[in-house]
Amino acid sequence: MNAAVAASPTQRLDRRRVYIFPSRAGFTLGAMLVVILLGAINYDNALGYLLSFLLGGMFLVAMLHTYHNLAGLDFLGAHAAPVFAGERARFECVIGNPWPRARLALALLRRPRGASRRERRRLAREGSAFDLEPDSTLAVGITLDAPRRGWLSLGRLRLESGYPLGILRAWAYFASDARCLVYPAPRGSLALPYAATQAAGSTGTAMLGADEFAGLRPYSSGDPVRAIAWKTLAREQQLMIKRFHGQGSQQLELDWRTVASLGDVEARLSQLAAWVLEAERRGARYALTLPGHTIALGQGTAHRDTCLRALALFGDDA
């Protein structure tokens, strides 16, 4: 995640990027101010003049305060863990406040260009409210629907705040190139193709006993903790995983062609995704074959993710 964040350039909110405009409450107050001023003129009431000018001044001061509540913040990038289609993607957007003053009542929301009024209102409701302590950074979660597999772009973000009086709203846009990988929804009723792999009679290790030690391999994230070779930790440079062969280590060939009966591309990908998850859950070793793309036998979350990624991006040249 750090790498992803560091990769996108920091965007600081300077003067040119912060916009400010009265909110609806601000317009109400403005109308009231005009009424007070007209009354003051009509009655030639000196205190009426003073009050309307004081409130006018307050508007101006509120503008400066609202502006400074937003200005100078940094958008340090966003990142989202992959999700399955149909789930909600959660982007962690990192906002930094490098100044010695807390920024209060901020809201981060999505605002794609050209969004309709209704869309904007919905997105405003979905935004997340947060505050920033002095000299701090915070990951603000923005969730959005991930209806289809493939890349889901976060799009343009809007950071806004009405603090301190709520009569003005300051906002700024961040163009974010962050995207979330959406795996195909794991769906399908076909059973895991055990028979097929056994019939194919591949490498043969599948017949080894369950507790038979089969060597070490480097740790990759997602490996079960109980499989870590703690004893070797002292002499090895890195964490190693003990490999065993047993009934949990059946080999599976997950092939695009096996699911041809499902017809529809998405249904086939969904079935394959369901198989990948199932195989991983069972501790099997599995390979994935897609047209023009083959992933060799493997196991573990990293392998699973590679497979799911291939399924997610199937047919996507990007």
Binding site: I41, G56, V61, D135, G162
Partner: protein
């Protein structure tokens, strides 16, 4: 973002602010309205606590009750004021509306509307009072209502009443320069934009434009201020300070009035002494006439000097007005048309037979008008006339009874009887009313003329000397004119104030004068700040030719300048108080970032240092040392040398490899 139900705290704050805004009105409100408002506020707060159900649609019985109270309140106000929406009715309606709105308040939008109506409530006070105290009260309320808004916009975790109030006060203070600039430069439009309700102004009884003998001396004892005068330079002596108001020419035997004379002669003043220049700030008296030192030679708007030397305003003086005049106290005043002469000699037929008889004898004795006047004054002096503010009533022929029976009265009696005698003797005469004397504020350089300084005197016409002032009261009670009313009265006879001797009284006088000096400044520079004052002030700063267009330009420029200053100040405040250790760390990270060793936002200092040290052995020693210093500064209980750290960071110049 989405907000849930309004919290107790939010409801409580806005309810308290509205109550504070209503406090000055409550003395005028019917008790029932006050009770209903406080009840509604309490109900809403308890509702927010969940102690009471609120009168919404979910509770039809309560909802109906609320509607009933609302209808009752509006109907009550309508009936009480016979459907006339004046000042009082307007304020009461606003209070009723606010109470209801408070009860109905559900979401952020309602909350803002109710808070803003609180600002509106502040304005309603100004219809009743525009004193400096009211202004301070306004300021406190504005801070309070602003605090209501600030706390509403502050996330609950950060809501600290002290900090919220401080921010509201700071923002109000920052808005003050804008207020002052706009107040000074905003073009003042003449006249009302729409009709004024009839009760927009309180009637202030001052000097009257008619004089009825035998009525109680209304003004004699009033300490209320009639006007204040600031002299530019020399000040005339107390006994020369006759502040002239309307002159009364027509008599029906009992009441004297300003006469409508067919054609007034052009009066001419020939100065015979120094010219006094001064500003008068007149309290509203609902009349058109203005007051000036006798005799006015030059008047600046809004004061107008008519051909027959009356001083008037274009419209009745409904609010405090300030005008500049020049006067001479030593002068010759000429001008009397034929119709004026007839009016100045007229006496109602059949009245004052004894006065006429006495005057006829003086006229027969010969001599000019001045000699006859001297005889009349002699008559007052020798026949046991007494100056008194509580003279016996005069049920019959007022002049004859006063002159020959009671012989006890005040300035009006003397002036009216004197003018009657003069006319009966064939000398044109009239009554001049106004004020006499005035005392200096001991702390500031201006003169205060109070209602008890009201006075009436006579003017007679001599062909050579013109109009000559004769003050018969001065003949009886010379001190009334030279020292003021208090000293003219015998001890114990209706003294106006406790004139207890000693330090306490002197202190009280000084205190009173101090308060009045502030009030006068306030009146002059704030309350009666009009187009004229605006021009005068800007001329003082060297701007000629002030018109609305120029003012708008000046206002815009001044506001732009003050905005820039405020922006700089607020920005500086936002960036100040930076922890030097933090600053050093930031610079340190930036320097390493420039050589390709950027620190990830969430990377802890030590992890970052180790990563850098592994990557760049050449920098390792310094990076680790700086990081250690920084962690000492930030986290060690004893703290560290933050400035030393900053210096060391600034010497640290990593190069790209």
């Amino acid at each position: 973002m989405n907000r849930g139900e309004l919290s107790v705290r939010e409801v409580g704050w806005v309810a308290a602010a509205l109550l504070a805004g209503l406090v000055p009105h409550m003395q005028r409100f019917p008790a029932l309205l006050t009770f209903a408002f406080v009840g509604a506020a309490l109900w809403r707060v308890l509702g927010a606590r969940g102690r009471l159900p609120l009168p919404d649609r979910a509770h039809p019985a309560l909802w109906a009750l609320k509607q009933l109270v609302a209808v009752g309140a509006f109907a009550g106000i309508y009936i009480a004021y016979h459907g006339q929406l004046g000042r009082e009715a307007g304020v009461e309606l606003l209070a009723a509306l606010l109470g209801l709105k408070l009860l109905e308040m559900r979401n952020a939008r309602d909350y803002y509307v109710v808070s803003f109506l609180g600002y509106f409530l502040v304005v309603t006070n100004f219809f009743y009072s525009q004193t400096m105290f009211t202004a301070l009260y306004m300021l406190a309320l504005v801070i309070f209502i602003t605090a209501v808004l600030v706390q509403f916009n502050t996330p609950p975790a950060y809501r600290n009443s002290g900090a919220v109030l401080r921010l509201a006060a700071l923002m109000t203070a920052q808005a003050m320069p804008v207020m002052i600039i706009a107040f000074v430069l905003f073009p003042r439009l003449p006249g009302p934009l729409w009709g004024l309700p009839q009760d927009a102004f309180d009637g202030v009884t001052g000097l009257s434009d008619e004089l009825t003998l035998g009525e109680v001396a209304r003004l004699g004892l009033s300490d209320a201020i009639a006007f204040r005068v600031e002299f530019d330079g020399a000040v005339p002596r107390a006994r020369d300070r006759y502040w002239r108001g309307p002159t009364l020419t027509h008599s029906d035997g009992r009441t004297w009035r300003v006469a409508r004379v067919g054609e007034a002669a052009e009066h001419r003043v020939e100065p015979r002494g120094p010219v006094y220049r001064y500003h008068v700030t007149l309290e509203p008296h609902q009349e058109r006439w203005l007051l000036g030192l006798e005799m006015v030679t030059r008047a600046e708007p809004p004061a107008l000097r008519t051909g027959d030397l009356r001083l008037v305003a274009a419209k009745p003086v409904r609010r405090r007005v300030s005008y500049a005049l020049s006067s001479v106290v030593d002068y010759r005043l000429l001008g009397l048309s034929a119709s004026e002469r007839r009016a100045a000699l007229a006496l109602p037929a059949g009245y004052h037979p004894r006065a006429r008889e006495l005057a006829a004898r003086w006229a027969a004795a010969g001599g000019g008008p001045l000699a006859i006047a001297e005889r009349a004054l002699d008559f007052y002096r020798r026949q046991g006339f007494v100056y008194s503010l509580t003279p016996p009533p005069l049920p019959g022929d007022v002049i004859d009874e006063f002159l020959f029976e009671t012989r006890e009265g005040f300035c009006e009696h003397f002036a009216a009887s004197f003018v009657t005698l003069m006319r009966a003797a064939g000398v044109p005469a009239r009554i001049a009313t106004g004020y006499q004397g005035g005392e200096f504020n001991s702390l500031a350089d201006y003169l205060v003329i109070r209602q008890r300084d009201a006075h009436a005197w006579a003017e007679i016409y001599d062909e050579q000397r013109g109009w000559v002032r004769v003050d018969p009261t001065a003949a009886i009670a010379p001190t009334r004119v030279s020292l003021g009313l208090e000293n003219a009265l015998p001890a114990g006879a209706g003294r106006t104030r406790d004139s207890g001797d000693g330090v306490a009284s002197a202190l009280l006088t000084r205190l009173r004068d101090g308060v009045d000096a502030i009030t006068h400044g306030w009146n002059r520079w704030v309350l009666s700040y009009t187009t004229l004052q605006q021009q005068r002030l800007l001329e003082r700063f060297g701007f000629d030719d002030v018109d609305a267009g120029n003012l708008v330009i000046a206002l815009t420029l001044a506001l732009a300048a003050v905005t820039m200053v405020l922006a700089t100040l607020i920005l500086a405040a936002a960036r100040r108080r930076r922890d030097p250790a933090q600053q050093a760390w930031q610079e340190f990270s930036q320097r390493l970032g420039r050589v390709g060793l950027a620190r990830a936002p969430s990377e802890a200092p030590r992890a970052f240092a180790h990563r850098v040290a592994r990557a760049r052995a050449d920098l390792a020693a310094e990076v680790i040392a700086i990081t250690r210093l920084y962690t000492q500064c930030r986290y060690a209980r004893a703290g560290g040398d933050a400035r030393g750290l900053l210096r060391r960071v600034r010497r640290f110049r990593p190069r790209r490899r």
